[in-house]
Symmetry: C2
């Protein structure tokens, strides 16, 4: 089968590799219908050391079940499924609490693990990981529906997680830091939770325009102290009740601390590229600001989100602004890295 491998920073190749097979009785084999490239794939694209064997890539997938292991009970060949970016057993107490990305059996798909930018994928803990999409035939489904279903494997529900962990209440002021696909998804989720004001901090007009369509009431292009001042101005000097941080770098954290209202919450879904951060009296403690967030437990939110997509309530697939075939994946990485594309979908 054709699969994407990364051999080092900037070195993405599509090659013929053996088609995966059942390894454990809890596995399923899924034929990919649509996959995509994630903003987080750009981290190894910038920094992966040279790997003579290459690392399989990709962690977002919708597809059709081809085969299931002996212990898989909930799926049969032909089922159309969404696969989240992390596998989990979905039965342990941590999964039952809704934090599947901290499951003792968690398997974060990523370089060398999973490999969903490929024609076929092996999904561990299939019953705990995958969710069926009822009543949709991917062969005849509308392209925009497929895009929105694919967006549920990671990007939309990562933005949703930011809003969910911020416990947004109707009428509240929300600031979203970052106008990438996750930031825009966070805008959409915040709007659906009833946010009264949504300030999007970003500077790419095509992106912030989609943000406005999805509910952003204000766009702040400035960063740092200047950006903080603008947000304070827009919030009567108090800052936002919820700050959804979809970047992961220290300047975004500092911006979040600057714009969060006393008693408010900073909810992070940008994977932190730092370990230590200010949390003392002058940053978080003095104003009772809270810090939340982490890798989105997509599995916890999938059923409800699938229904919302099928009902036409949300259209998170609009973050995909380019569609390519598997052999164009290297060009897809480049387009996202050059910020020519917001998010690239791969059609199989």
């Amino acid at each position: 089968m054709r699969a994407t491998l990364m051999y080092g920073a900037g070195d993405v190749r599509v090659e013929d590799v053996p088609t995966p097979t059942i390894q454990n009785p809890t596995d399923a084999i899924v034929r990919t219908v649509r996959a995509c490239i994630c903003g987080s794939d750009l981290h190894p694209y910038h920094s992966l050391p040279q790997l003579p064997q290459g690392a399989t890539m990709g962690h977002e997938l919708i597809g059709v079940v081809e085969e299931v292991g002996a212990e898989v009970k909930d799926f049969t060949p032909g089922d159309f499924v969404i696969v989240p970016f992390a596998a989990s057993d979905n039965t342990c107490p941590i999964c039952q609490d809704g934090f599947q990305t901290a499951c003792p059996h968690v398997n974060f798909f990523g370089p060398g693990v999973g490999g969903q930018q490929a024609e076929t994928a092996r999904i561990p803990w299939a019953d705990g990981t995958m969710v069926k999409v009822p009543g949709v035939d991917p062969a005849t489904a509308d392209e925009s529906l497929l895009k929105s279903l694919l967006a549920l494997s990671d990007v939309y529900l990562t933005g949703y997680h930011a809003a969910y962990m911020a416990e947004i209440k109707p009428g509240q002021s929300v600031t979203v830091i970052g106008d990438g696909a996750v930031g825009l998804s966070a805008v959409l989720a915040a709007k659906r939770m009833g946010a009264g004001q949504i300030i999007l901090m970003g500077r790419h007009k095509a992106r912030t325009d989609l943000g406005r369509e999805w509910g952003a009431t204000d766009v702040v292009e400035e960063r740092g102290e200047e950006g903080i001042s603008k947000v304070l101005e827009l919030t009567g000097g108090y800052g936002s009740h919820a700050v959804l941080e979809a970047v992961g770098h220290m300047p975004a954290y500092e911006q979040a601390v600057g714009v969060v209202r006393p008693g408010g919450v900073i909810s992070r879904v940008g994977v932190p590229q730092y370990d230590m951060a200010p949390v003392g009296f002058t940053s978080l403690f003095g104003k009772n600001a809270r810090l939340a967030g982490g890798p989105a437990p997509v599995r916890a939110y999938l059923e409800q989100a699938i229904q919302e997509v099928l009902d036409g309530e949300i259209d998170p697939g609009r973050v995909f602004d380019r569609t390519i075939g598997i052999d164009e994946v290297p060009a897809g990485y480049k387009a996202m890295d050059d910020r020519e594309a917001l998010k690239v979908m791969i059609r199989f």
Copy 2:
């Protein structure tokens, strides 16, 4: 009047000073009935630089209103009141959200500000700060009732704030770090919120015994990695849903990170003696652990807590294990610093 002043580390004196008078039309003058010494008073007791003028001390008080400024509407002379450790206007949007300690008009009583370890005190923003105790005559009230009312000015409601910000749900596992008066108060608050398991990390038997009476199901004496292992053992390997951190030093933070369950919350009320702390993938982010807490907005909780004390539902005054007169205050500081006394009350 007699008042407590600190002239430098370890140098506490009780002296005659001018009785405070109304300075602003929103002030009230309150005659002290009971005051006390706070664990946080020990910070300047260890580190205050030499001050030729001395700094007035104390931030916890119950007393009787003697005089009110022209703009004070809610109080008249003779009212018996509780004064929280911070003044606030209680009308701004931040106060209305319940975060009075981040009010733009906040006034943290502390060295040189307030001076409640004295026979009389001036209370700014009286209408926003003080709360009346209905139906109690302090001249004839039971001593244990006065102790419990005094405990509401800071210590109990600081422990309560830790539990409140942790959003404890019935049946959850809670770990309290620190067996000082605030930690014990956090145990009591967690129990009242329905915690199913309360693990108290502390090693002073007299204190942990009161913790057990108030609801601690387990006591862990060990600290650091050893303490973390014990808590994990007691929680099926998962850690606690809520960790109430009532110490403020980095080892307590690290302990909290070690024992918090994925998806759980660390709620801090020990004033952090650090600025930077680990918040990255391997500490908070990876397991979706949240960080909450700050200076307790005592004012937000007072009415309900007063009623609970008057109804005999809680007895937070039990943290006071020594009573002294104003002239014995220097000895009171020493007794708390030597850990001979848990918390010292001053009777006037």
